[in-house]
Amino acid sequence: MPADPWRYLVSVARAHTGLVMLGFGLLSVSGTAWVLLPWAIAKVIDEVLLAGTTEPLLPWSIVLGTVAIASSWVFVAGYRALFMAESHARVRTVRNLTDHLNRAGTGVRGAISPGEMVNLSTEDAHKTGSFIFQLGFGWMGLVMTAVGTVLLWRADAALGVTALVGVVLIGFVVGPVLSRLQHHQIAYRSSVATLTGQASDVVGGLRVLRGVGGEAQFSRRYKVASTHLRDAGYGVARADSWVQGLRSSLPLALIAAVTWVGARLALTGSITVGELSAAFGITALVAQHSGAMIGMAQSVIAAQVASRRLTAFFKTRSDVADDGTGAGARGPLVDPASGLSITPGLLSVVVSAEAKPTEAAMERLARYRDSEARWGDSPLGSLALAEVRERVLLLRDDYLFAQSLGETLRVGSAGIDEAKALAAIEDACAADVYSSLGSTLDGEITNGGRNLSGGQRQRLRLARALAADAEILLAVEPTSAVDAHTESLIAERVAAARAGRTTAVVTASPLWLSRADRVVWMVDGKVRASGTHAELAEHGEYRSLTSRQES
């Protein structure tokens, strides 16, 4: 994929060159037909009305009707072609984003906020397509200007010059200056965002507000922000009303000028009355479309900005090196940075008062961070990443995607059948998840698991990890949101289900500690001691951490 914003735009457009060319061609024809419409009206006036004969009425009526139909129908055909080219371009960008998310993998962590991702996949994808569309309209405006100028010029050079100078002034000088006046809108839009944020706060925090109060304070705050927005809106109104007014009046001013020039010419007989009315009509149509030429320039700039954001995202790379080739490592997982070592075949429990450094150690062992960590004699970095991912599973606040329960538990992938999935649900005490979804693996889970409670989500994540049946399972606080009774059951079942396999659980819960083969006690991200729960209980500090309020 091109890394340069301009080249990305070109590559997206070029994929549908045929449609783009077709669109430009049809819009050229349509633009010409539009301008010919007042010209044909003028012909009827000159050659029928003023000539005082009905004879040419039929042929000119046919011309007039044909031009009218062509202007409209050919326009739609051209519009359609460009619309399709734009749509294909948008779809292409969405596919590129999809592919890149897979390519960059965990490299997108922290590199992009959810809001930015929303913008990239909607607004920015749209802009990379819509500039094709706007270019088409701008082109049509140019064709109309050219044809109109030629027609007027043929009647009289002065008319042609007046119209051309006017259109150029409106389209390329005054128009862009007017657009600058709209900077008020930027401040306005950010006020809108602030206000929307506050309103969402009210809904998001409604339970809290209902619990402790604060409604009046919020109502007051919202009113203040709403008044600010109103005043910002007044500011926009002041500038924007000039822009809107001029946009509508400038074409009229040009029409007035052309009419004046034309009227003097008609008075002396240099042009016919029909040509005077054609001048009026042609100027009206061309001036009205001169706006499209401004739109063209603006959309190209907007597309370039959007493309720059997209290509910047396309530059994110995976944050874990994937150049290892080794396979078949054996032995304990060792993290030299913390001194943590996970013994094969045992249930280890890692106890610590601080969550963050312990979790970081687990990330290193599962290779979600590059580090000096080893698997037996092999540095983790020297092993093929695919192999590490297959054999070592890190469980924490994993994401739940919008898919069925069966798909969530990976039924159908290597070695997981329905029986295994159901067993994992049982071991994770997640039967209530299963029953709340209609007691079928086809039950749908919504994005982020929002149709489940916090405790259900946690147990479902655990079930998914158990079903995967990885050689090494590293679990961070897998039962922090469940009650003691259930936690006790889970610890018992997980210990049984994973007997003989390597499992490490980060928790200070005695319900897990009582099942542990081996306990590692960490302080400030370093291993302080390890052994059995009973051995470590000799340390007072450890005791107060694990047996809670020992009196």
């Binding site: 991702m117 206000l195 809106g233 109104a237 297959e390």
Partner: protein, 593 residues
């Protein structure tokens, strides 16, 4: 759109209610409204004068006008342009301000209403519905009042003025001018019927793309862990494909709509020229009149397209308005009971959510004043339901929940809140300063009493210190630091500490803590609980916990199972009883039973 399609949903206003709301907004600002309409009409008139005067010039040239006479009329045309600019500019400005004022009024009354909605009703409808109305619909209505509405109004006024102008020029030609009307009416009606769903489904497809890709990004680690690349790829491609289908729906619509709209002015342009030409030859009309009306038809292009293109937005704005106005249709809760004292009693309470089965079965619980009662039990036993009933969020089906002798759900919120505060595991940090976040609970509606209501800095810091919130010292601007996603973001533990500090500041008679310390590091959870207990000494504290941290030091423990109190008593009593609590406790303590 019918009100109340589904039971439990928040209501949607019907046509009459929307018209009523619009009428109210107009009446409240009627002088400005009348002025704006007048300005638009005059501006449209000045614009329509151009083709009319062109016709005069053409007929004048035929009847031998002098150059100075032509200059005079052309000068008048220029004058019309200037007048049109000034009228339109003023009209736009005032119209924009009018819309802005109306939007502000509407959204403020909406938020004020939302803040008074009964929580139970909102939860039954799902907060998603309300969130959509708040973030999307309110903005859409503002756009409607500020932009789309005026756009359609200006277009409509211009259409009428141009038609009137055609009739003034020549009533016969005016009739020909109307030949575009059938196309306009048919196209508009059909478009209104078909367009909204087409555009809405396209937007929905776009949101799905955003949701799918955002999920892939947010879940990148999960994708890596479970090697889900292929299915995430398929999901993204499928969303793109759906979107393409929806876009095709739009172009199908526009493929007939654009030519049909064009007919609105192409038909009269051709008819006026041809038929008008024949009439001229019969001396019924002048050349100037034919040219004037033909040019008037070409001017239809702008307003017809502008208003037609705004139609679907206009319609969607109307739908948004129906949802925004809908919240005003909800009945207000009447809460008038007056509690005496602060004693909490649950007697023989049976309760279930919505139409669901009973969650509590004849449960009775009498926390004593100043007692620290811990409610434990497995998930789903009904612990949180007890909390919600005591906090007056829900009403029991049978039995009674009273505070100071009055049914809790009938006590006015302002009174109830000074006596009972519920802190749940759901912690929400508002986008506001730390001070504002803390002062929530001290909310005083009477502005004169606010000085009293707002606690001094020392009290705020003391409350934060009580909950062990050491992170406050690191805040760049102390109590005035802005919190929230886009400013300083608090983690779960910090948010919980903030919520607890609020309670200390509010100092109510009864505090309900529903898993309120679940997210705090195990190392500091104990400290927080201990200091909180000290700070709340003398208050009735009802703590709900699935873990047993808080149980041992409690005055009394109630074990809830399947919607009933299974056991109750002090820690020592329950251990001696060797029941469910005892076995749980020993397991939890890590001592093999």
């Amino acid at each position: 759109m019918s009100a109340n399609e589904t039971a439990g949903r928040l209501p949607v206003a019907d046509r009459a209610a929307i018209f009523g709301a619009v009428k109210r907004l107009i009446v409240e600002d009627r002088a400005a409204f009348a002025g704006v309409v007048a300005l638009y009409v005059l501006a449209a008139g000045a614009g329509a004068a151009l083709p009319v005067m062109l016709g005069d010039v053409i007929d004048g040239i035929g009847t031998g006008w002098t150059a100075s006479r032509v200059d005079l009329v052309c000068g008048a045309i220029v004058g019309c342009v200037i007048v049109q600019l000034l009228l339109l500019r003023t009209g736009r400005k005032l119209g924009y301000r009018l819309g802005e004022r109306a939007a502000a009024k509407l959204r403020e009354s909406f938020i004020a209403r939302v803040l008074r909605l009964p929580l139970g009703t909102v939860e039954r409808a799902g907060t998603g519905d309300l969130a959509t109305r708040t973030s999307g619909d309110v903005g859409a209505v503002a756009e409607l009042l500020r932009k789309t509405g005026p756009e359609v109004a200006i277009g409509a006024i211009e259409l009428v003025v141009l038609t009137v102008a055609a009739f003034i020029v020549n009533p016969l030609l005016g009739l020909l001018f109307l030949t575009g009307a059938p196309a306009f009416i048919i196209a508009a009606k059909r478009y209104l019927r078909l367009a909204s769903p087409v555009f809405l489904s396209e937007r929905a497809a776009m949101s799905e793309i955003a949701e799918t890709l955002t999920a892939s990004a947010a879940g990148s680690q999960t994708v890596a862990a479970y090697r889900m690349q292929a299915e995430r790829g398929e999901a993204g491609y499928a969303r793109a494909e759906t979107h393409m289908g929806r876009l095709k729906g739009i172009i199908r619509l526009q493929t007939w709509f654009f030519p049909a709209t064009d007919l609105t002015f192409l038909t009269p342009a051709v008819v006026v020229t041809v038929v008008g030409g024949v009439w001229f030859l019969n001396d019924w009309v002048t050349v100037g009149e034919v040219v004037a009306v033909a040019m008037l038809t070409l001017r239809l292009d702008g307003p017809v397209f502008r208003s037609m293109m705004s139609l679907s937005e206009f319609q969607m704005g109307g739908a948004a308005m129906a949802r925004v106005e809908g919240v005003h249709l909800m009945p207000d809760e009447v809460r008038e009971a007056a509690p005496e004292g602060a004693e909490v009693r649950l007697d023989d309470v049976t309760f279930g959510y919505g139409d669901g089965p009973d969650v509590l079965h004849g449960l009775s619980l009498h926390p004593r004043r100043g007692e620290r009662l811990v409610v434990v039990g497995p998930s789903g036993a009904g612990k949180s339901t007890i909390a919600r009933l005591i906090a007056g969020i829900d009403r029991p089906r049978r039995g009674s929940v009273t505070l100071g002798g009055a049914p809790v759900a009938d006590i006015p919120l302002e009174v109830l809140r000074r006596k009972v505060i519920l802190v749940t595991q759901e912690h929400y940090v508002f986008t506001a300063t730390l001070r504002e976040n803390l002062n929530l609970a001290l909310d005083v509606t009477d502005p004169d009493a606010r000085d009293e209501g707002e606690a001094g800095d020392a009290a705020l810091y003391a409350a934060l210190a009580t909950v062990d919130a050491r992170w406050v010292a690191d805040l760049p601007e102390g109590l005035d630091t802005m919190l929230g996603e886009e400013h300083h973001e608090l983690n779960l533990a910090e948010a919980q500490q903030l919520a607890l500090a609020r309670v200390i500041l509010a100092d109510p008679d009864v505090v309900i803590l529903d898993e309120a310390t679940a997210g705090i590091d195990p190392g500091s959870a104990g400290n927080v609980e201990a200091s909180l207990a000290a700070a709340l000494n003398g208050r009735t504290v009802i703590a709900i916990a699935h873990q047993l941290q808080a149980a041992e030091s409690a005055d009394r423990i109630a074990v809830v199972r399947e919607g009933r109190i299974a056991e109750a008593g002090s820690h020592a009593e329950l251990l001696a009883a060797e029941g469910a609590y005892a076995s749980l406790w020993w397991a939890w303590k890590g001592v093999a039973a």
